[in-house]
Structure formats: C-alpha cells, structure tokens
Symmetry: C3
Subunit: 206 residues, 3 copies
Amino acid sequence: MTLLELLDYASVFVFALTGALVASRAQLDIVGFAFVAALTATGGGTVRDVILDRNPVFWVAEPGFIAVAVAASAVVFFSAHLLESRLRVLTWLDALALAVAVPAGTGVAMTLGHGAAVVLLMGVATGCLGGLMRDVVCNEVPLVLKQGELYVTAAFAGAAAALVAAQVMPQGAALLVCAAVTLVLRAGSLLFGWQLPVYRSRPPRR
Amino acid sequence: MTLLELLDYASVFVFALTGALVASRAQLDIVGFAFVAALTATGGGTVRDVILDRNPVFWVAEPGFIAVAVAASAVVFFSAHLLESRLRVLTWLDALALAVAVPAGTGVAMTLGHGAAVVLLMGVATGCLGGLMRDVVCNEVPLVLKQGELYVTAAFAGAAAALVAAQVMPQGAALLVCAAVTLVLRAGSLLFGWQLPVYRSRPPRR
Amino acid sequence: MTLLELLDYASVFVFALTGALVASRAQLDIVGFAFVAALTATGGGTVRDVILDRNPVFWVAEPGFIAVAVAASAVVFFSAHLLESRLRVLTWLDALALAVAVPAGTGVAMTLGHGAAVVLLMGVATGCLGGLMRDVVCNEVPLVLKQGELYVTAAFAGAAAALVAAQVMPQGAALLVCAAVTLVLRAGSLLFGWQLPVYRSRPPRR
C-alpha cells in the first residue's frame, strides 16, 4: 500500500467515525449511521478526484474504503453511549481526520504534477468538504466555519508546509510535515484558543 | 427505449413532482418550481454519472429528461392547490421516486460491470441524493434522514436484492425486484411504522 | 484573453466579493473569507465543467482565477466595515455576478455545440449554483430562492435571449445581450418589485 492510499484509508476511517457520531446526535438507525459516515468519509476525496479527473474515483477503484467506513459506523453505533461527551470526541476525531485528509489531497495533486495553487486548494478541499457535507446534511453548525477557531487555516497552512517541505525532502516526508502542521494548529486552536483576528463590522473605538 | 432509460425517465418525472411540491411550500414562482424540480430530478443521477465517469451525463445526452421535469413542475404549479395535504402527497411520491431511482442507479452500475460494493452505493446514492439536495436547498428537514423511518435502508435493501436476484434471473427482472423491495419497505415504514432500532444515547435501564 | 475567459474572471471576482461579504456576516477570519469566497466564485463554473466533462476544470487550467478570488476576499476583509449596509451591497454585487456568470455558462455550452436545453440549463446552473452553495453553507436564506423576486427567471431569460440572439449575430454579441437581459430583469426586480405570480396554496376567493 502506498502512503497516499494509507492517508486515504486513515481519512475515510476517522471521518466515518465523525459522521457516525453526528448520526448518533440525530438518532438515526444503523443504516443511517453508515450513510452519513460514508458521505462524510468519501465526500472530500470524491470532489478531489472528480475535479482532477482522476479515474476511477478512489473508492470506486478500491471498495475496501466503503467497508472501512461501514465498519467505523458500526463501531460507533454500538459504543457511542459509552462516551462521556460525544461532541468533544467528535471535535477531536474531526481534527485528526483533517490532519490526514489534507495530506491525502495535497499528495494526490502533487503526484499529478499540479502547480502550487491547485495543490493548496485540493489540500483544503479534501480536508474540509467531507465534514462540511456532514454538517450541512445533518443540520449542524459546520465545524469548518466555526467562528474564532483555526480550521480552514490549519488545512491551508498544512498544505503550504507540504509545498515548502517538498523542495527539500521526499514527498512522503513532506506529507508527514503537512499532517503535523495541520494537527498542531487545529489542536492548538482547540486547546489554547489560538485564532486569527476575525472580522468585526466596526473597528474598535479608542 | 431501454429499461434503464425508462427507469431514469420515471425517476425524473416523479422526483420532479416532489421538487415542485416543495417549491409550492416555499411559494416560489413557476420558474422557481422548474428549478427545484430539475435539481431534485437530476441530482442523484448526475452524481451517479459523474462518479462513474459516464459521459455524457444522462440529461445532457437526452434533453427530453429536462422537458419531463419542466412539464412535471407545471402540472404541480397549476394543480397543487387541489390537494388535501401536500405533505402527504409529497411523502408518497417521494417513496415512489425512490423505488424507481434505486434500480436506475443499481442498473447503471451493474451494466458498467462494477462490483457489489459500488453497485450498492450507486443504488443508494442515485435514490437518495436528489431528494437530499431538494430538502437542503429548500431548508426542509430531509426526508432521507428522518428519524424512525426506513429510507436509506429501503434503498440499500432494494439494491442488495437486485444483486442477489441478478444471480438467478436476467438483469431487467432483477431491477423490478429491486423496485418492489424498495417500495414495499418504504411504504411499510410509512403505513405500519416499520423501522430499525434507532440509536439511543443511553441503553434502556432495567 | 477570450470573451469566455473574461466572463469567467468577472464572475469569479464579483461572486468572490459576495462570498466574502457573507463571511463577514458570519465573522470569520481572513482565511475563512477566502474559503467562502473561493467556494462561491468557483462553485457554479465547476459544476458546469464537471457536467460537460470539460477538462481541466477552468480554475485548475488557470490558477489566476484563485488569485482573483483571494484578492477579492482580502479587499472585503479590510473594507467591509466602511459600508453602510452590507446586505444591500451583497444583493447588488450578487445581481452583477449573476449577469456575468449566466453568459459564462451559456457561452461554454454553446461553444461545445450543445443543444438549446443544455445551453439553457448550463446558463442557469453556472449563474445560480455558486450563490446557492454560499448561502447553504453559511446558513443564509438563499437569495436564489427568495420569494417574490426574479432570480432563476432572470438567469433563464438571459440564457434564452442568448440562444435567440445567436441566430442573428455573432456569439460574442449574443452573450452581451444575455448579460444585459439578466441584469435588467434582476435589477428591475430589486428596484421596482418586478415578479412572476407566485404559487398560492388556495386560489383567491371572489
């Protein structure tokens, strides 16, 4: 298995866990869990593959991805009641999923020989769109656009770090740098409140 | 006309009726009806064709599909006020649309020679995504994810039945089995409350 | 630069301004602005290119589009507080964006040799879907489906005007007619309340 496949598998598994957790908040049945899990898990990578005209789409080429997503949803269906706070676990699994999905998108775009702008966008899109679909479909406030947190910024910084790192090291190592930068920024935001200045409709008065 | 085209036409027509009914709840004008109807009617099949790289997309190859969706939206615009309960009619038309869209997706994936996992997912996606787009865009609670009803489950069971049936009968007959299984499960859920156990955040106390 | 590229650039720039304005209402940071701006700016054209199997997608072929969207989001981030009414500016920029995106979609479909139905739908889809994604993702009431306004109708009439005009003049001139018809109808709706009859659940009593 290549590193890119491994990143796709990790991203599918962890995003599927988050999708199933959101399904548990909506009190769906086990097939509903699998549906939301599969949508979340494959959404970002499917958009990536369709936009880059990568044929076949990753989970059509290798249906093991679907099996992983279904297995993840079953795990959550039978164990989520053991969790103290599902929202907390959801937020942290989502952070972990972001940190593997961004290098998965970045790596595919690099391997196909795209320029920096497309690589950056594919990293951000692969990382962010699955979770965005999950939250829009289940009518949750999207984690991706939560005010005062680093999310898209963490994805963007990770993809940018991969581009820089790939100048001085092999692509595989650069993708690990990407994962680390994304995770550190997202985790720092959750733990320590790291954020960029947000827009305010009026400048602060003196 | 092949059976697959017939299923696509039926799915477009009935899903367009449901889209127009949702547009009537939002009090749109007749062009708004046609827009929501066309989005609902073509959404699932478009995702199917894009993911399976089926070129051209079904309604680009044969614009008669668009004419059917527009005609359906006009019918609803001028007659919906005659209905006793639009929500009830919407729910049942949606069930019927699901029962033709699932075999439409299943059949295309089978004909292209895909394996069981992709066939199952294409059946579910073709059946469920048009209605999901309709409800998300019009800010309705998605029928697809309504708690305590069989919806994704009916689609999944129908696609699975088609896979099994195709081992012992021609594909056309297997798709009719698929439609029947989907419709019976969805209708049984609406009429008799059939459902799978839903997730509860705590196990029942003794 | 061809006229079609110019229309795509104008559409990306103005839709990005509207996306950034919606991001300002959600009080996102500057990367969040760029994310919503890029989604809004590229959404409609990406759907168009994927459905028409136009490879590569316009902004993958020419990353200058992304630079334009990012620049537009920075402009809004640092200047939106100067506006008297962001909603008013948003609505008018959105009308302008619609009036360049509809000919952008219409023109591409015409150039690829598609028939009237596909040209009409690609005009409407390219014009409407980016703004629809923006509003759905940011949980705003979609401008596209606002009751009692011409929006989809303006897009549809513009695309239809292009089809008729192209019979008697060069395609470039026909696309300018398309832009003018779309803008006049949308602006007339905003200024003078032009609208089509909307659906009412009961006919007026005598």
